[in-house]
């Protein structure tokens, strides 16, 4: 009797039949019916129509039936939320059951029912279960908190479940601790609520020894996020977790390796402890390679990272990476990669004989990779080059088409690394000319012929044979052919003139490809103008190619080593790209901020003024009360008229009650400020900005007054056209490790848009073309507004300046640091990856000017906790006006100014392109002390990230 009987159907229709059976009086029949329903569910059949009937079976003392009904509920509750409520009573009752199994089952299932309405009923039973006397119930409840958080994070925080979870970390039962850790880390991933501290670490380390293998993985992963206070603590953690390396579960082993790799960084590099620790690391990793192939694969991807970071750990273990013929292909490929990384002089002979063996295998991709690997060995280990070349020659003799082609490609690289050493083999290569049909192999062969034209007697004939089919060739081959023929001509001008003319005309007249045409013209011009110069250019000495071309970028490598054992480490991609977008806080919160902004502005300018004054002022704090702020505004406006703002004595403050009248009256006086060229402004730029400011109309006085408050609004309109501070270009890619591409750049804001200014320098021998650029998801959704267009190829030693307009409407994902942007740059040679931290100020939007009232309300609304204070140096002795105008130029808008007790207080607002608003208060001593105090506030603390540095940079420039 098997379960397949549940799949038999009858004439009347399955659902009907089941319905009758579910409502049967006989227990046995009922149970069988529910089993049938579950059986249909497991194969994906929709049996949701039976919902009420199945729920009816829930109230039973038969545990199996109960479990089956629960299984059904978990799947279908979401589709029938109203009916799911029917089940609540039973759950609540079951949570009180004397049998812990039933209690746990109820709380577990309740958490899995993802229906909003049920969650309210869940809280009380869950709280009770978290303090249950039975550890099994507690551990189930811990997981339930994570489930609840997934549905309703706010509820979890409000109801204090996070604290309860935190308490469970001190539970006597290690399994409960492990589950609490798992739940906490899942919650923390979404939003950091609890930080791992040294006290917690101790608890975790104690639980580590006693909990289940899965719990150990959770605990180790949590530990990897902890930064020990000092060396001693790091060493202590290492000692306590290193026994886990001998665990039978591969996940435990790899998580242990992760924590150890991370902690090793903290210890002094040459200590004995590290030596003994690294010795311990090798055997467990080797053991992983005798596990199931899937485990081997993950292990190999991680070992690839580890050997890049610490090559010495596995340097003795070359042999375990030797490929067995029945390894799955994905394991073979990875083993090969690691073998090349470990290849060095002492083991190169072994590696080569293995690689040669692999090159005769059946799988084409694997064979190709093996041949390439031989070439890489030659380039990496100089002593082996001769042997590698001999091996490659032997492989060419096999005449297997794809082997020959791969061999030609790698031999070209060997020639470039060791010029004038192995040219004797050219004749053998030439014999195989006809078999080459892949563009890369053809281009490589043509390059070889051109480069060594003087030693190949029939070079002209060989090249001519290629030229005959010029139009059918791939661009890569055409370009190479053009260059090689020119080389040939420069070396043997007498008998190849005709050939070179033919190629040049083919390239310039018959080709649609701009790269090819341009290169053709350049050669033509060079050859006709100054053959000697042409010789210097075309036959210039080439830089040697670098040894290892596929190493990961060091910062990415460091990042990945901290995430060993994760998906990121398997894909060798930054961990941040694996976070689900919906969890990025910036995007989630942005709409709120936007809504708030519109709220504020829609209430009207004029009307709001009386109300504003009527609002009772909060007392004390850094926030200026509304009344005084208005008074200050008035005062500010008078300051320029009264003389230098810094030296102005505090003018008598207007009575708060009569504010509106006074304001309006004063509004008429505003033009005098705007038009006053005599106002002593230290910064000529500011003066320039101020001079043409349109006089404010008296009618709009209040509005303008607020706008002008800090000398802002009027200037802002004009100053918008002025460039703010722009960070100088920094090097993003260096030529040495990026195949000759040197990239310097900076992201700047000008004319109200973001630009990426780049200088591309070609330090390679060949022209670089086909540039393209792509941005990874980032915090502000920065993306190119248009494709990168570089009209002509960048020729060797040439620099091209490009300015690429950027938009902020791309996909958003929170990065760390916030302004980090990962960029991929492609050219005809390769794709390069780099990351740069964009200065935050490029994200300051032009419409960031905030109204005073709005500013005030927001300032009050944001909790103290979100305020950050910094000290900033006023190195250039700027006055308050200078500061305001400098900030203004960078879209940091002055909302208000006032001076109190010998201090000048400046209030500014910033609005990011994603509508998040930052408020700042800048305190400066009127006495001219060189330090300024900056307080920043925002609803989103993350948005404050290194803004103080931005301020500093603005002031220093």
């Amino acid at each position: 009797m098997t379960d397949s009987k549940y799949f038999t159907t009858t004439k009347k229709g399955e659902i009907f039949e089941l319905k009758t059976e579910l409502n049967s009086d006989k227990k046995e029949k009922k149970r069988e019916a529910v089993k049938k329903v579950i059986a249909s569910m497991t194969v994906g059949k929709d049996v949701s129509a039976l919902f009420p009937d199945v729920i009816n079976c829930m109230q039973t003392d038969n545990v199996e039936l109960k479990k089956l009904v629960y299984l059904y509920l978990m799947n279908y509750a979401k589709s029938q939320p109203d009916m799911a409520i029917m089940a609540v009573n039973t759950f609540v009752k079951d949570c009180e059951d004397p049998n812990p199994l039933i209690r746990a089952l109820a709380v577990r299932t309740m958490g899995c029912i993802r229906v909003e309405k049920i969650t309210e009923y869940l809280c009380e039973p869950l709280r009770k279960c978290m303090k249950d006397e039975d550890p099994y119930v507690r551990k189930t409840a811990a997981v339930c908190v994570a489930k609840l958080y997934d549905m309703n994070p706010q509820l979890v925080e409000e109801q204090g479940f996070v604290e309860l979870l935190n308490d469970l970390l001190s539970d006597a039962n290690p399994m409960v601790v492990a589950n609490a850790v798992a739940a906490l880390s899942e919650i923390n991933e979404a939003k950091p609520l609890i930080e791992v501290n040294s006290q917690m670490v101790n608890k975790l380390l104690t639980a580590l020894n006693e909990c289940t293998e899965w719990g150990q993985v959770f605990i180790l992963d949590a530990l990897s996020g902890y930064a020990p206070r000092d060396e001693r603590e790091a060493q202590n953690i290492c000692e306590r977790i290193s026994p886990r390396l001998a665990h039978a579960n591969a996940a435990v082993v790899l998580s242990t390796v992760k924590v150890l790799m991370k902690l090793i960084e903290m210890l002094p590099a040459d200590s004995e402890f590290i030596a003994s620790l690294t010795k311990k690391l090798a055997p467990p990793m080797v053991t992983l390679l005798s596990a199931e192939p899937e485990i081997q694969y993950v292990a190999l991807r991680n070992i690839n990272l580890i050997v890049q970071k610490r090559p010495d750990i596995l340097k003795q273990e070359m042999k375990v990476f030797f490929v067995k013929y029945n390894d799955p292909i994905y394991v073979k490929m990875e083993k090969l990669d690691v073998m090349i990384r470990l290849a060095q002089q002492s083991n190169i002979a072994q590696v080569l004989s293995e690689l040669k063996e692999y090159a005769t295998e059946v799988d084409v991709d694997f064979v190709r990779k093996s041949v390439r690997a031989i070439g890489r060995c030659a380039i990496k280990v100089e002593q082996s080059a001769e042997r590698c070349v001999a091996t490659l020659l032997e492989l060419i003799q096999t005449k297997v088409n794809y082997v020959v082609q791969e061999a030609v490609v790698v031999i070209k690289d060997i020639f470039r690394k060791y010029p004038n050493r192995y040219e004797s083999i050219i004749s053998t290569l030439c014999e195989n000319l006809d078999t080459l049909d892949e563009p890369e192999a053809r281009a490589s062969m043509i390059w070889i012929i051109g480069e060594y034209a003087e030693r190949i007697d029939n070079a002209d004939e060989l090249l001519e044979s290629f030229v005959d089919g010029f139009h059918d060739e791939n661009t890569q081959v055409q370009l190479q052919l053009l260059t090689s023929v020119v080389k040939l001509f420069l070396k043997r001008p007498t008998d190849t003139q005709q050939l070179v003319q033919r190629v040049l005309s083919l390239a310039t007249q018959d080709s649609d490809n701009p790269d090819l045409r341009d290169r053709g013209y350049i050669y033509w011009r060079l050859l006709s103008a100054d053959p000697a110069a042409a010789k210097q250019v075309v036959l210039a000495e080439k830089p040697l190619i670098s040894e290892e071309t596929d190493l990961l970028e060091p910062s990415l490598l460091d990042q990945l080593v901290c995430h060993i054992g994760s998906l990121a480490s398997v894909y060798h991609k930054p961990p941040s790209s694996f976070v689900d977008n919906t969890k990025a806080p910036l995007r989630q919160l942005a709409p709120n901020a936007a809504a708030l902004a519109t709220n504020g502005s829609s209430s009207g300018d004029m009307d709001s003024a009386p109300g504003l004054i009527g609002v009772p002022a909060p007392s004390g704090g850094a926030v200026p009360s509304q009344d005084t702020l208005i008074a200050d505004l008035l005062q500010l406006d008078m300051n320029p008229m009264g003389g230098s703002s810094a030296a102005a004595p505090a003018a008598p403050v207007a009575a708060p009650g009569g504010g509106l009248d006074d304001l309006l009256g004063l509004g008429g006086g505003a033009p005098s400020y705007g038009a006053a060229p005599a106002a002593p402004m230290a910064d000529p730029l500011a003066a320039w900005g101020a001079a043409p400011a349109p006089p404010a109309a008296a009618g709009g006085g209040l509005n303008d007054l607020f706008g002008l408050g800090g000398g802002g609004g009027g200037m802002g309109g004009v100053m918008g056209g002025v460039q703010g501070f722009q960070t100088p270009k920094t090097q993003w890619l260096d030529a040495a490790s990026h195949k000759g591409l040197q990239l310097e750049g900076a992201v700047v804001r000008k004319n109200g848009a973001i630009y990426m200014e780049m200088a591309i320098t070609n330090k390679a021998m060949q022209p670089l073309s086909d540039f393209a650029i792509q941005f990874n998801k980032n915090s502000f959704g920065l993306v190119p507004a248009q494709p990168l267009h570089i009209a002509a190829p960048v020729f060797p030693n040439q620099t091209t300046q490009v300015s690429l307009r950027l938009d902020t409407n791309g996909p958003v994902q929170k990065m760390d640091p916030l302004a980090n942007v990962q960029i991929a740059m492609k050219n005809n040679v390769d794709v390069f990856y780099f990351a740069t931290v964009v200065p935050m100020l490029v994200y300051f939007a032009e419409d960031g000017m905030m109204e005073k009232r709005e500013f005030l309300e927001l300032w009050k609304e944001i909790p103290e906790a979100n305020e950050q204070q910094f000290t900033i140096m006023n190195n250039r002795g700027l006055s308050a006006d200078d500061i305001c105008s400098k900030l203004q130029a960078n879209n940091v808008f002055t909302v208000a100014r006032r001076s109190v007790d010998g201090q000048e207080l400046l209030y500014h607002s910033i609005k990011y392109t994603n509508k998040i608003v930052v408020l700042s208060e800048l305190k400066m001593e009127i006495t001219g002390a060189p330090t300024l105090t900056l307080s920043l506030k925002s609803r989103h603390v993350t948005a404050l990230a290194n803004l103080n540095e931005m301020y500093q940079q603005i002031f220093d420039n």
Binding site: T2, V63, Y136, A248, P293, V298
Partner: protein, 415 residues
């Protein structure tokens, strides 16, 4: 961790699906089926596949794939280990983890999966406890249940679940108390054309079958514990004692379990107990021939048993016409597998297999590598030996036994 699990067979049908968080539609498996189509054989399907919103992590076992779906960053090894644990559990419940076994017991598989994972976290993976929670199917019990109306599902919480030794049940009782240990060593090796060893290593296990009453505390000492420098232990082994005294001290789980596994690395020289001489020529037309000879080498006086020689012939090979001096041989023209079942190698003339082969085409074909299986009883190739086994905590005298077996692991000879 993992959101859903799909069990899929090689012909691309979803046999079973289970969701722990919200339901993910089975169309997600299409990505997997695409990868499956691309792979030349089921073993070559990559274990981790990224799709735009999900990650598919799979393991392959006897014609079925277990495909786990995750939506977020998760340690892949944990998922893979868990999936292997599912396979092991199903195998122990239904004797095999195959398409038909799952279909026949789908409700029980579903119940088991629900016990094993909660919200994507592994919950109960210890077989001992699972068997307490859900009794394995068995004919007698089925009949009894029919009569008494009882079920296979336990109504009370298993006692071992949360003790400090979660792997052992309480209240175990046997009339005959016995503990058997199998020291099994598998030799992995690659031998090159000339018969020289390219690399060789030993993968060893100590498997245990314990049927002991109560809470026995066992101590095992080895004659030469120094051999083991790369060991993975069952959680029951007290690591501190091993580290300090090189003694294995543990409270064993009930039933069969793997006490420890070890790895003896390539630096140590491993004795290769078998040799295969080969002379193979494969080319189109006439004249293709195969000649294989196997014999013992450094086998320390022990007899090689269950010797099997296998080669997967290239596609061009159409048929073989061979004569074995010992044992039987078979050639499957569809899978191109040539299998020579030598059996026991007695003293005397070494067994040979020779004859002619039909190869299509005209080109010379590279001969395939040879894979060899064998077994040697009463020998641990590394020389590992159990010294003594003592029991504390209980008052009876158990029957104890140790058996040594050396087997071929992945033993390959290049041609």
């Amino acid at each position: 961790m993992l959101n859903s699990l799909f069990i899929v067979n090689t012909s691309g049908d979803v046999i079973l699906e289970k969701h722990w968080k919200s339901v993910i539609h089975r169309s997600i498996c299409d990505y997997f089926f695409d990868a499956q189509k691309k792979a030349s054989c089921p073993e070559d399907v990559p274990p981790i596949i990224a799709t735009p919103h999900h990650y598919l992590i799979s393991v392959y076992h006897s014609q079925i794939f277990l495909v786990a779906v995750s939506t977020e960053e998760t340690p892949p090894l944990m998922v893979i280990e868990f999936l292997h644990r599912v396979v092991a559990t199903l195998t122990s419940y239904f004797d095999e983890c195959s398409d038909s076994a799952i279909k026949d017991n789908c409700v029980m598989v579903f119940e088991l999966l629900d016990e094993m994972l909660d919200n994507g976290y592994p919950l109960v993976t210890e077989l001992n406890i699972l068997q307490d929670l859900i009794k394995p199917p068995n004919f007698l019990r089925n009949i009894a249940n029919q009569v008494t109306g009882r079920t296979n599902i336990s109504e009370v919480l298993p006692s071992g679940q949360l003790s400090n030794i979660p792997w052992r049940r309480h209240g175990v009782k046997y009339t005959n108390n016995e503990a058997y240990f199998d020291v099994i060593e598998e030799i992995d090796a690659i031998i090159d054309k000339q018969g020289a060893t390219v690399c060789s290593e030993i993968q060893g296990y100590i498997d245990c079958c314990s049927r002991l009453t109560g809470m026995p505390d066992l101590t095992m000492t080895l004659v030469n514990p120094r051999l083991l420098d790369d060991v993975s232990f069952h959680p029951c082994v007290r690591f501190k004692r091993w580290e300090n005294e090189r003694v294995l001290s543990f409270v064993p789980p009930d039933g069969n379990f793997r006490l420890l596994s070890y790895h003896i690395a390539t630096q140590n020289i491993v004795a290769i107990p078998i040799y295969v001489r080969h002379s193979i020529l494969l080319k189109g037309g006439v004249g293709s021939r195969i000649e294989l000879t196997v014999g013992p080498k450094q086998s320390m006086g022990k007899v090689l048993e269950e010797v099997v020689v296998e080669m997967t012939m290239p596609k061009a090979v159409q048929n073989c016409n061979l004569t074995p001096s010992h044992g039987k041989y078979s050639f499957d023209p569809a899978s191109k597998l040539l299998q020579w079942n030598v059996g026991k190698i007695e003293l005397g003339k070494p067994p040979t297999l020779k004859g002619s082969v039909t190869v299509s085409g005209t080109a010379v074909v590279e001969p395939p590598p040879i894979s060899v299986k064998f077994k040697i009883n009463q020998l641990a190739a590394s020389g590992l030996k159990v010294n003594r086994l003592d029991m504390y905590g209980e008052n009876y005298k158990p029957f104890k036994g140790v058996k040594y077996i050396t087997k071929a692991g992945r033993f390959q000879i290049r041609t």
